[in-house]
């Protein structure tokens, strides 16, 4: 984020300190505030339109309460994801959300960006695990919603509102999550398909599979090559790859891996490798979303039935892509050859058109800031945008938090 690099930075050590700082800022100059955690996703959205303070949550990283037998945990939002994972692991539990760069990424950042990965097919996303939240708004007002119990419908569900709000509504300071048991076993099948048609057939067959995968990834050759290398595994990567994950009790997981192999064979996919020691492959699949220096990274969201068509088109344009196929989500990196805005626009146009036609969208994660003047970062305008702006206006009337990140003039003109 270029604008804040030269700006001041504030790193509170307690939420009271955080609150006081925001209240004083609001009462005084009302300078812009840019909430940051592990700084792994600062390229999301539009560039800020004003200079201001980077507001780091990194020292708000305590565990407040972990009643493991209730299967909930309350922590401060600045906790790094790897640290949270370790805490939960000690009790045989986990938060089943795959997060790239998890040694750096913070829980608050993951919530603000609604980050997810391969296992969302089986386990859902942050909205399925966040049960309580405390945030501080731009005026320094601390507010909470939800609670510490797994089922609760008291009050408006501001947890949902805060997820994916990119730090534009309030700074998330404390979070209560529902967690689940660690699986006894985790395996991935790496299945080489002859062509995209074979992938489509396999995906359709999966609708009636006797198994219940927790991840259903489709990779093109470029992505498969990169992911296999990252995982230090010798796996085929000449054509499209289906990568299918199973987790659960050992007997259950092994039975599913075997059954799936047989089902795939019947559908004409015979080249199936079972990756039993799957940790590094899960990691590589997850990190693909941010692992590159490529000129532009996007996420397309589509109806799952249109995913292969989209992937084939993107592959022919040189995009390296990995898809959460069961969810209709494609992460793509543009090839190095795309060095100009014109080239990027030309490559993206048919992909954006297809995504829109498939009731979805194409969102830019990362690209040269100057390109964002032309490429609509949040894709096609949605009709609920005016209501979103009214909410922003209600919660942050002076536009102090992340000004320009989501609601910019550019975004509006792109919307028209």
């Amino acid at each position: 984020m270029t604008t804040t690099e030269s700006s001041d930075e504030f790193t509170p050590t307690t939420s009271d300190e955080a609150r006081d700082f925001l209240a004083e800022n609001s009462a005084g100059a009302g300078r812009a505030i840019f909430p940051v955690g592990g700084r792994t996703a600062l390229h999301y959205g539009y560039a800020p339109t004003q200079p201001g303070f980077a507001f780091s949550t990194l020292r708000l990283n305590r565990t407040i309460d972990y009643p493991a037998r209730d299967m909930t945990i309350t922590v401060e939002a600045g906790i790094r994801m790897d640290e949270l994972t370790e805490i939960l692991k000690a009790e045989g539990q986990r938060l089943p959300i795959d997060v790239p760069q998890s040694s750096r990424a913070t829980l608050g950042g993951v919530l603000a960006t609604n980050t997810s990965g391969p296992r969302r097919f089986g386990f859902g996303t942050m909205r399925d695990y966040l049960i309580g939240i405390t945030s501080i708004d731009a005026a320094g007002k601390t507010f909470s919603a939800g609670g510490r119990v797994v089922k609760n419908v008291a009050g408006y569900d501001l947890c949902k509102l805060m997820i994916g709000s990119l730090g534009t509504l309030a700074v998330i300071t404390q979070v209560t999550l529902k967690v689940i048991p660690q699986p006894e076993m985790s395996q991935l099948l790496w299945c080489a398909a002859a062509d995209w048609q074979a992938v489509e057939v396999a995906l359709e067959n999966l609708l009636t599979s006797a198994t219940r995968p927790v991840a259903l990834e489709v990779l093109n050759a470029a992505a498969a090559h990169e992911i296999a290398a990252e995982a230090r595994l010798d796996l085929p990567s000449s054509g499209p790859i289906l990568c299918i994950g199973f987790e659960g009790a050992a007997r259950e997981t092994e039975w599913q891996a075997e059954t799936m192999s047989v089902e795939l064979e019947a559908a004409g996919i015979c080249d199936v490798a079972v990756v039993a020691d799957a940790e590094s492959l899960w990691f590589a699949l997850t990190d693909f979303a941010t692992s590159s220096d490529e000129p532009l990274t996007f996420q397309a969201n589509l109806r799952p039935s249109r995913l292969v068509e989209f992937s084939e088109l993107a592959t022919s344009a040189g995009v390296s892509l990995a898809a959460h196929a069961g969810n209709g989500i494609v992460i793509g990196h543009l090839p190095d050859e795309v060095t100009t805005l014109d080239a990027a626009v030309e490559l993206l146009s048919p992909l954006q058109a297809l995504a829109h036609e498939a009731d979805g969208n194409l969102v830019i994660f990362d690209c040269d800031e100057s390109w964002k003047q032309t490429i609509p970062v949040f894709g096609q305008a949605r009709q609920d945008r005016a209501l979103m702006q009214r909410i922003k206006q209600q919660l942050d009337p002076r536009d102090i938090l992340n000004p320009g990140r989501v609601f910019t003039k550019n975004a509006m003109s792109a919307a028209q």
């Binding site: 996303t125 909470s144 919603a145 510490r148 797994v150 109806r303 609920d384 909410i391």
Partner: protein, 487 residues
């Protein structure tokens, strides 16, 4: 503070205009006709709407909402009226928009695992429609034979299977909504991760205060291959709750984990003849589902944990017929309560799961203290209790004791780190608990969000937030003495 809705009887020309919008026979306004709509499943407070309209299309709803805005008449959406916290009580009258005729199943797409339904679609009708496809709609509230999916969206309904599958919000991909000013918007959609705020997630559970839902895009879930359904019989409620704690603590997430105490068994057994032991202190209805290869292992582990916690026996529902009967007993338990008393009030508190023994002990004490019989049937795995207070609503003194006992139980839930509602909603019933659960700042923020959707407060006034249109209280006191008493 938003401009407060003018609460008055509806002018004749507005009524005429409503008839022009939906047709003569689709507006009820005679007293004896609207009397049916004076309350939902929360019978302690009642008030009739000025009229009830039955739109059949989104355009109808838009026209009705715009008309209400023109005349500044409050309006409240209603599904089947099975909600239990007064969520569709027409506080101070106004126009009730009954959505039961918007019940089409418009589209089922298995490849993309969604269905598009009208808000008036009865929950179980979708399940029946999907039978044989290998997919189902997961949320299954006990009232699913009557309640509508639009109503489920409004209250973020749960049900016995939420323990593993989640509540309504986990299964709604999008919604078409007529906002309180008459604008039609679509939240979410047929795809996941739509850019911007998750207004679908925010809308679900907003109890009709953010607009009128006219279409719902729901996620479909694959059917489990196998079930193992068990009935653990315990001498005491204490043992049963310890067993629950043991099961959850062991890292097993059953599909359902429900507790019925002796009081409710006494009502259910003569009604359905399942063969429940009438002398047991409590039974646990436990279901695991998933792959055939997995369920036996989990079931065996559960049996062992029940036995460790002094279960007298653990029975298995071996046939699908037995399983169906067992679930029928559970889901229709409320219907059987008529055998015990003329009226009942179902409470809906939540505690951390490990605090279940503590809250149940407290309920027993509260029952004795106020001389109100209380029976229990609830979603034990989630820590979501449903004490049912039995009384006779014709006896004002009993009603008072019921309210007192309810309040004490819910306050105790808060003290134990829980909530006053797990799935029924705040409605009008629990408005007074909001400032116990939340700070003034929390409520201000919620109010700010409500204003973004519903700036005039005409849509479902006096619900959910204690601040919502509080300056209109004098109208309510005049038109609705029971409400004044409750407040």
């Amino acid at each position: 503070m938003p401009e407060t809705a003018t609460i008055s009887t509806i002018p004749a020309q507005a009524l005429q205009a409503l008839r022009r919008i939906v047709g003569e026979t689709s507006v009820l306004s005679a007293h004896e006709q609207v009397l049916v709509y004076e309350c939902d499943g929360f019978v302690i407070e009642k008030n009739t709407p000025d009229c009830v309209v039955f739109p059949e299309t989104t355009e109808h709803v838009v026209a009705i909402v715009k008309l209400c805005n023109e005349y500044k008449i409050p309006f409240v959406p209603r599904g089947a009226g099975t909600s239990l916290a007064g969520g569709c009580l027409p506080v101070g009258g106004g126009v009730m928009i009954a959505l039961t005729r918007m019940r089409g199943i418009h589209d089922v797409n298995l490849r993309d695992h969604y269905a598009v339904v009208g808000p008036g679609t009865v929950n179980v009708h979708l399940t029946q429609h999907l039978k044989g496809t290998g997919f189902h709609y997961a949320p299954d509230p006990s009232s699913q034979g009557a309640c509508t999916i639009g109503g489920n969206v409004a209250t973020n309904s749960g049900g016995p299977h939420t323990l593993k599958y989640g509540v309504t919000v986990n299964h709604v991909l999008g919604a078409e909504v007529v906002l309180p000013d008459g604008e039609v918007v679509q939240f979410g959609g047929y795809t996941e991760d739509n850019p911007g705020f998750d207004l679908t997630g925010l809308f679900v559970g907003s109890e009709g205060t953010f607009g009128v839902c006219t279409k719902v895009i729901v996620r479909l879930t694959r059917d489990p291959v196998a079930y193992r359904t068990m009935l653990g019989v315990f001498e005491t409620v204490e043992d049963a709750t310890q067993a629950i704690s043991g099961i959850i603590g062991a890292g097993i997430v059953p599909a359902a984990l429900e507790l019925m105490d002796q009081g409710i068994i006494e009502a259910v057994e003569p009604a359905f003849h399942f063969g429940f032991p009438l002398d047991a202190g409590a039974v646990l209805l436990i279901e695991v589902d998933g792959l055939e290869v997995a369920v036996d292992g989990e079931a065996a582990q559960i049996v062992e944990l029940c036995e460790q916690n002094n279960a007298r026996e653990v029975r298995k529902a071996d046939s699908p017929q037995q399983r169906d009967l067992l679930w029928k007993c559970r889901k229709k338990a409320f219907g059987a309560i008529g055998r015990l008393s003329p009226s009942y009030c179902t409470q809906d508190g939540v505690v951390p799961r490990t605090k279940l023994p503590e809250i149940l002990k407290f309920i027993t004490e509260a029952s004795a203290r106020h001389d109100i019989r209380i029976v229990n049937v609830f979603h034990a795995g989630d820590g979501n209790i449903h004490p049912i207070l039995l009384f006779d609503e014709r006896d004002a003194e009993q009603v008072k004791r019921v309210l007192l006992a309810s309040d004490e139980i819910l306050n105790r839930c808060i003290e134990l780190g829980g909530s006053v509602t797990g799935e029924h909603g705040i409605g009008v019933e629990k408005i007074n608990f909001m400032n116990k659960l939340f700070t003034e700042a929390d409520l201000e923020t919620m109010e700010a969000v409500r204003i973004a959707f519903n700036p005039t407060g005409l849509c479902s006034p006096q619900k959910m937030l204690p601040t919502a249109g509080a300056c209109g209280m004098e109208h309510i006191e005049k038109s609705h003495p029971a409400r004044r008493a409750a407040l």
